[in-house]
Subunit: 200 residues, 2 copies
DNA sequence: CTGCAAACAAACCAGTTGGTCTGTTATTTT
DNA sequence: AAAATAACAGACCAACTGGTTTGTTTGCAG
């Protein structure tokens, strides 16, 4: 018969759930719909996960966190001069980003805004991922300092925290407005802000 | 008996629904719970509103839009020098903001992130409110130009669009992190950004 | 004063939802 | 090979959810 593959089954559930959560939010995501789209049954689901919330946590840790790493942290790792390179990367991202991201925005921020104040388990995990992102940004600015691209007396973590907030804000408003105008405005002003980090 | 007051009944429903949506999101808000908290019954609800979605639209137009006007647009109207005055207003806001706003963030952005890609009726109304907000900011920068506080060659609407995005981003991340550190970082960097708008 | 529409109350309902339970089959352990 | 267990399938269910219906009361126009 069809040979069993529990790891793959679990992954199928996670991938489908991730897409459904991204599209409808966690509360809007329906377990039955995940099952329908993944072609699996209740038995499989509740064998791999204890509850809907448990699935949500797993999506955060096993789908969203790796996505942040493979997209943003990888990107940040390639930055030489933050002031010049980052805005260019934003342009690049703006053109390569898949349509579902354009439509539904940042999966992490969506879950964050929906669930942070609803469930402490969600909030803690989301904070942890945000901190990783902030760490990634801070490292870029620290490196930028040693290479002379960034003023020595700026606080890299403060700037990093702001950058994460700005990006989520820009992505979020773009998701609502759905106009190039909004994205271009954000991109240009992010570049202007980064200019303040330059040594005199 | 208890004298009837349809306007007040409607307002009670809207006020309660606003609080429930703010606390649990639109999808998480339950009609029955709004009824319980407002002390009213199904008959009253479906007399004043056609559906749950209809109530959501009404909350946007009759609660959230006026709130934006009474908080942000009023604030912006009092600004003389945007670069100096706005960060100070942020400090003030950070201290006077009610606890439910601290916990649940911006009611407009919450609804925006949750419902924009779910329902076009929501998205359009939210865009309309965002545009009002952007208009308010743009007016401040335009006035700032004539008074010599702002460089003449900046595009007020671009800056305004960015400011709205930044604010929503900062409020959103703060809502998750719940630390003064995050808020202070955003405040200081918003001030730094606004500095780029100064004439040389 | 009367009729009539507006403003509710309250019981009711059908579809949905997350979750359970029982059974069956594949896989690993002994 | 036998026993145990992991990995499912599929029927089932109680609670919930938005919405409807029917009936009653209040206020107001004529």
């Amino acid at each position: 018969m069809t040979t069993r593959n529990p790891q793959q089954t679990r992954e199928r559930l996670l991938k489908t759930a991730f897409a459904e959560i991204h599209a409808h939010g966690f509360q809007g995501m329906r377990v039955d719909e995940v099952l329908r789209k993944s072609g699996l049954k209740k038995g499989a689901f509740y064998h791999h996960f204890n509850s809907k919330v448990d699935l949500g946590y797993a999506v955060l840790e096993e789908q969203i966190r790796p996505l942040l790493e493979s997209v943003w942290l990888r990107m940040l790792g390639e930055i030489e001069d933050p002031v010049m390179d980052f805005p260019r990367m934003l342009d690049n991202l703006g053109q390569t980003v898949p349509p579902e991201m354009r439509e539904h925005g940042c999966p992490l921020n969506n879950l964050a805004q929906e669930m942070a104040s609803q469930d402490e388990g969600f909030r803690k995990r989301i904070v942890s991922i945000f901190e990783d992102w902030i760490d990634g940004f801070a490292a870029v600015f620290e490196q930028g300092k040693t290479k002379g691209y960034i003023r020595k007396n700026i606080d890299s973590r403060v700037v990093a925290r702001f950058m994460v907030a700005v990006l989520e804000g820009c992505i979020g408003v773009y998701k609502v407005e759905q106009t190039a105008e909004q994205w271009i405005a954000c991109r240009s002003q992010i570049a202007a802000y980064l200019g303040t980090l330059r040594p005199e």
